[in-house]
């Protein structure tokens, strides 16, 4: 099936949705929407300088070339959750690993954007570690979710996943010339507030990026969204504006988050924000339910609302290609 679709989705058939009218802000929305409609079949959509390019997943352009970086983001595995919205989060995390292992080119590594466990229990962390052992990309970078730092201010999380990190677990590293920054915004939350980075982490971040060239592609990953998705449900970070101000000079910034258990994207100048699905259970769209809790759907629909995100970076291109796929 994937091959048939690939044949249909040739470069020519998907290209040619250029801009645009003079008053346009450079974003080809119609083309973008058209592309998104095909995204579920395995097309790769890339926005470069306002022009949409798209190609089938297994085309030569999509394969990993020299200078290309590809990795996968998974999120919100909530190991230990066992309520009706998904009585078997082990099976769905395994399904995510199977999907990753079935990708045409093995991603170099994985990011897990938090809520690894559901109740910060050692057995829950152990189970996730065990399942991820069978993923082809063996290197995994984590940031904690609020469910990972219960009872002990995150001591167990840091012991397991935070060796060599700073403070509550923030850190940065480089891969193929791309600078990755893992932030922690789930500690010391204040009553009535949203996620929080805190002064110490912000100072570290400012120092970390201060002397980097503005042409360095930046990828920031953190659990709670770094833009205000829906404040009533706590879907945002109180002090993210400070963090983003330090990244203003960079030509390409991609922010990858989790927490909301659905995909959402926003572009603001040179910054692209993207949230990933959960591998455990879906949550309602903002405002479409009384609260942001686990959303129960008919069993046969569950996996179509869970998923993972593939990210591809090609040297010389300003934007990253971000592709969501479900577990269905």
């Amino acid at each position: 099936m994937a091959d048939e679709m690939a044949d249909k989705l040739s470069d020519d058939s998907l290209l040619n949705h250029n801009l645009l009218h003079p008053e346009n802000d450079g974003i080809d929305r119609r083309g973008f929407l058209k592309c998104m409609a095909w995204a579920g079949t395995g097309a790769l959509c890339v926005v470069q300088g306002g022009v949409l390019r798209s190609f089938a997943l297994n085309s030569p352009e999509a394969k990993r070339a020299k200078g290309q970086l590809s990795f996968v983001q998974i999120s919100d595995s909530h190991m230990g959750f066992n309520k009706p919205a998904n009585p078997d989060v082990v099976a769905t995390l395994k399904a995510a690993v199977d999907k990753i292992n079935a990708l045409p080119a093995t991603p170099e590594f994985m990011l897990h954007t938090g809520d690894i466990s559901h109740l910060s229990k050692p057995s829950e962390f152990d189970n996730v570690d065990q399942i991820l052992k069978s993923a082809r990309p063996q290197e995994v970078f984590f940031v904690p979710g609020e469910h990972d730092v219960l009872e002990d201010e995150g001591a167990q999380y840091r012991e397991r996943y935070g060796k060599g990190t700073n403070g509550a677990g923030w850190y940065s590293f480089d891969k193929s010339g791309v600078h990755f920054i893992g932030l922690v915004n789930v500690m010391n939350l204040k009553a009535g507030g949203l996620g929080s980075l805190g002064a110490e982490q912000l100072e570290w971040l400012e120092r970390d990026v201060k002397h980097r060239s503005h042409s360095t592609p930046i990828i920031v990953f953190a659990h709670i969204p770094l833009w205000t998705v829906y404040p009533d449900w706590g879907w945002g970070t109180d002090d993210s504006a400070h963090a983003l101000s330090y990244l203003k000079k960079f030509g390409s910034v991609t922010v990858l988050n989790g927490h909301i258990h659905q995909t959402m994207q926003k572009v603001e100048g040179h910054i692209t924000f993207h949230t990933a699905c959960s591998t455990a259970f879906p949550q309602p769209k903002p405002g479409e339910a009384p609260s942001p809790g686990p959303m129960k759907v008919p069993a046969e629909q569950l996996r179509s609302l869970l998923g993972l995100t593939s990210v591809d970076f090609v040297r010389g291109k300003r934007s990253l290609a971000v592709t969501d796929s479900t577990l269905a």
Partner: protein, 131 residues
């Protein structure tokens, strides 16, 4: 037969008219959840040691605001399908992580206002006013 029925009926009437337990009213903030959402505790003599229940569900504390006498035991029960905590904003009390059906109790001894929230989902807030 008729006489016995009359006696039984009269006895029942007496029982029903007997002084019953008095209610401890938990004041609710305007616009808060209706009574059917699990409001006041129905059993409470005027001894302050009787309890008041707060339900945790749908990312809310219900009733969100309660007024009690000192030495009243407050019991939170998590009916949500997600864990929550009951955490005082002034470090007066803090529950462990409460999964579904877990409970936490706190008995305030001094009058005052005790604000609290869920440390995992900080948008969830509540208030206890102790007289």
């Amino acid at each position: 037969m008729r006489k016995i029925r009359l006696v039984v009926a009269f006895a029942m009437l007496l029982l029903m008219a007997a002084p019953g337990p008095r209610r401890v009213w938990a004041a609710t903030a305007p616009g808060s959840a209706p009574a059917t959402a699990g409001g006041t505790s129905p059993i409470a003599p005027d001894k302050a040691s009787a309890g008041v229940d707060v339900k945790i569900d749908n990312f809310s504390f219900t009733p969100q605001e309660i007024t009690v006498k000192a030495e009243t035991t407050i019991t939170w029960t998590n009916r949500d399908d997600i864990p929550h905590t009951v955490t005082s904003t002034d470090q007066v009390f803090k529950s462990k992580t409460l999964d579904t059906d877990d409970k936490f109790t706190f008995t305030p001894t001094k009058p005052g206002t005790y604000s609290y929230f869920c440390s995992i989902h900080p948008k969830m807030t509540g208030k206890i006013v102790v007289e």
